[in-house]
């Protein structure tokens, strides 16, 4: 989705001269077209993330719409206080983009595992958090964040994930996108595990379980209406994310369900345990290890449905 993001950014930058790109010495093979087309609206600050967010805030407070690009936890956790105090508090137009959500950089080790970002950033006031599920969502989210006032976080996977939505899909910030309807269960996913969620939904269908699949790219603000509708229409809800089960999509959905006055639903969060991976391996290997594979997800869902 990196390519999709840069393509959309370049396209929008042609139309809006406020758009500025700041990178932290990251983006080889990706940032070059923007740098060549708009040298005056491009800045590589070097390997200095705290300074990067501060500078982005200064540019934003001077009228720019600033996309800050890096990978892994570098543009978020390393400079979290700058994001909080400088960007969020001042409602500055700083759009933090991190490539490498979840185990994208699996074999590079725990320093590069982006597994708590949604949780941490979601708790910041004035922050919008988006994790696109397919290239169409990534394109739509990039454009939507330009229009969204204030600080935003865009979590991208590393690879070029398959398209899940049909051509002509319209992304709407803060809204769930229904991929498929069903009445036995609702599966809600955020981020690049959407393709996996679609495979699971298909496999369930083949075994006679009609699952509704909601893609929830915007984790903050969360689409409360879609969650409550799912609780009303289906007897079970399962959330799926390549992220810690603490504080991410699963938590956001459970917060809505726990405080709703609607009927009780069976509920399960599928994600990563709160631990550093002790295994070395690529994204698929680590996902399999932590139960984020088609078969293991099907097993979990079938277990939950027995309780319904």
């Amino acid at each position: 989705m990196k390519t999709t993001f840069f393509h959309a950014l370049l396209e929008e930058a042609e139309k809006d001269e406020r758009i500025f790109l700041v990178v932290g010495d990251i983006g080889f093979g990706a940032i070059e077209p923007f740098r060549e087309r708009f040298p005056d609206r491009f800045l590589n600050v070097g390997v200095a993330e705290q300074n990067m967010i501060g500078i982005a805030t200064g540019l934003a407070l001077s009228g720019k719409i600033v996309f800050v690009y890096s990978i892994s936890n570098f543009p978020t956790l390393r400079c979290l206080e700058q994001i909080r105090n400088d960007a969020c508090y001042h409602k500055a137009n700083v759009k933090v983009v991190a490539v490498g959500g979840g185990f994208s950089y699996g074999a590079l080790g725990p320093s590069h595992h982006v597994t708590e970002d949604i949780s941490i950033l979601r708790s910041l006031p004035n922050m919008t958090v988006v994790a696109p599920g397919d290239p169409l969502e990534a394109e739509g989210a990039t454009k939507a964040l330009i229009q969204q006032e204030g600080a935003c976080y865009l979590r991208l996977p590393r690879a070029e994930e398959p398209q899940v939505h049909p051509d002509g899909f319209q992304f709407e910030l803060g809204k769930a996108a229904q991929v498929q309807d069903g009445e036995d269960l609702t599966l809600i996913s955020t981020g690049a595990v959407l393709a996996l969620a679609a495979e699971v939904t298909q496999a369930l269908k083949e075994s006679g379980v009609k699952a509704r699949l909601l893609s929830m790219p915007t984790v903050k603000p969360i689409d409360e209406e879609a969650i409550l509708k799912a609780a009303s229409d289906t007897p079970a809800i399962v959330t799926l994310e390549e992220h810690s089960i603490i504080g991410g999509l699963g938590s956001a959905v459970s917060e809505i369900l726990a405080e709703s006055s609607g009927k009780k639903v069976a509920f399960q969060r599928l994600g990563l345990p709160s631990e550093f991976s002790s295994k070395v391996g690529d994204q698929d290997y680590l996902k399999e290890h932590y139960g984020l594979s088609k078969d293991k997800i099907l097993e979990s869902i079938k277990g939950l449905l027995k309780l319904v």
């Binding site: 600050v45 705290q50 967010i53 805030t57 001077s62 001042h90």
Partner: protein, 270 residues
């Protein structure tokens, strides 16, 4: 006496009133920078109190956000907001918080309070001016202890490399940080040569010698293509004999007797 000396004295008096009334700390830091603030707002900064968001204004960031009382005092004195806003400073329901906060407060460019943030944001503003071919300048007042922060040196390296000669740092070098003397906690020296080595043109001055302060500001930028740094040697608690060079006054709020004695020294009305 020059008008700016009188202005500085007025700021010190107001700071004492505010901190005494509020029972708040950080008196010493507001007193040490009072002369520098008076020179800045007394003629250096190109700002319009009646139009605080005027696009061509010089930007001033107080990165040492704990010195907010001094900044609020001078902004009120200059008419950015009514003086009665100072009366409930730091109290429940007040407009003005105990660190620099710009929400609803005209004239404040950036909210601060956690050290080491202001210079990076200032770099962004200065870079925006360069890229937009605008002539405003960006001033940042920092504390000496603040220069322990790594982010300051990330920003210092950036500003030097990018030749931001529209950027000015003033270090209120009062020699005392939270737990002791700067030279004992984490010595900054050699300080001027650090800035020079990072691509700045740095000058050391007596931050209480108003003529020297004014003439130094008049030379900005000190050198084309380089950001300017003024290392202002100051005295923490300046102007009140029993507060000068005393760590205690980083924390303590003047009680009634101390307030009266301090105001007497500053020639103010109690």
């Amino acid at each position: 006496m020059s008008e700016n000396i009188l202005l500085a004295q007025k700021i010190r008096q107001t700071v004492l009133e505010m901190t005494h009334r509020a029972g708040s700390s950080h008196v010493g830091t507001s007193l040490s920078m009072a002369d520098l603030l008076a020179a800045l707002y007394g003629g250096v900064l190109n700002v319009r109190p009646e139009e605080p968001e005027w696009e061509e204004r010089d930007r001033f960031i107080l990165s040492k956000g704990h010195g907010c009382a001094g900044l609020y005092a001078i902004l009120a004195e200059k008419g950015f907001f009514p003086k009665d806003w100072l009366e409930d400073f730091y109290q429940n329901g007040a407009r003005l918080a105990g660190h620099v906060t710009n929400h609803g407060v005209p004239g404040i460019e950036l909210s601060t309070g956690s050290l080491g943030h202001g210079l990076s944001v200032a770099c962004g503003m200065a870079l925006a001016a360069k890229r937009n071919h605008e002539n405003y300048r960006v001033f940042v007042m920092m504390s000496d202890g603040e220069c322990d922060e790594g982010s300051i040196w990330e920003a210092a390296m950036f500003a030097g490399f990018h030749k931001l000669d529209n950027l000015v740092v003033i270090v209120d070098y009062n020699k005392i940080q939270s737990l002791g003397a700067v030279k004992d906690v984490l010595n900054l020296e050699p300080f001027q040569s650090k800035w020079d080595a990072f691509g700045w043109n740095a000058k050391e001055i007596d931050g209480h010698d108003m003529e020297k302060v004014e003439s130094t500001f008049a030379q900005i930028p000190f050198q084309q293509d380089k950001p300017s740094c003024i290392i202002a040697h100051t005295v923490k608690g300046k102007g009140v004999s029993f507060m000068e060079n005393e760590l205690l006054w980083h924390y303590r709020s003047p009680d009634k007797e101390e307030y009266k004695a301090a105001m007497q020294e500053l020639g103010g009305v109690q």
